[in-house]
Subunit: 136 residues, 2 copies
């Protein structure tokens, strides 16, 4: 049985990165391991590792991406939770058997070798859930 | 300096516990360590530990609590992220120095000895952030 191993990260959508970092980095004192432009996601992302998971601040850098439209519609706040699984192909098959609606029917491949897929929030009680299988 | 240690839990607001468990427990295969009525929070909570953190499904059991009103207004979905800190009193003082608005100016005491406080989402980019200090 494929299984969930841990919370990999929580992604938070932001419109003003510097203002947001004043809370997470300056006030809470979280370490920012990286602040990177990620053109593939049309976003700037701040990575803040904590206790084996990460909080990611995601700022859309274009106005027409899915993230940008989500931000325009809903405002800043939590966007998705990403769970690490041991076998993403098996997990997606298991989810389909349970009638779960997927955004990505097949795993997509990230530049670092991770495989990922999103579950549709309709099937997860309004929560956007991402699944990761990390390279071994 | 007080610091954040890890993500303790993510809380997800639900209106139908059984339907929601069909995704998290039955389809994803997450273990439910407890499914409890918590009268102090006017909620039924499903605790699902994973990798040192927890995902909590929270169903309001009255219609007039803050949680119930949040659910009526926004619908089901992610409600807050809880971070464990090593020194909550020191952390709240540090947040105040940075002008962060708090829902709880002083730590509150849970029945299990944990101390907790909520940061106002206005000061955290629209995210409801809870802080925990666990008994040593």
């Amino acid at each position: 049985m494929p299984s969930v191993k841990r919370i990999d990260h929580i992604a938070i959508l932001v419109d003003d990165m510097e203002a947001t970092l004043r809370f997470w980095r300056d006030a809470l004192g979280m370490q920012v391991a990286g602040l990177q432009d990620v053109p593939a996601e049309a976003a700037q992302i701040a990575f803040m590792p904590t206790g084996g998971s990460e909080i990611e601040l995601v700022r859309p850098t274009t106005e027409d991406s899915g993230l940008a439209r989500y931000l325009q519609k809903r405002g800043p706040g939590m966007h998705h939770v990403c769970l690490e699984v041991d076998d993403i192909q098996g997990m997606l098959a298991q989810l389909k058997l349970h009638g779960v609606q997927l955004i990505n029917e097949e795993p997509r491949l990230g530049p670092d070798g991770r495989k990922y897929a999103f579950v549709h929030p309709k099937s997860a009680n309004g929560v956007m859930v991402e699944l990761y299988e990390l390279p071994g």
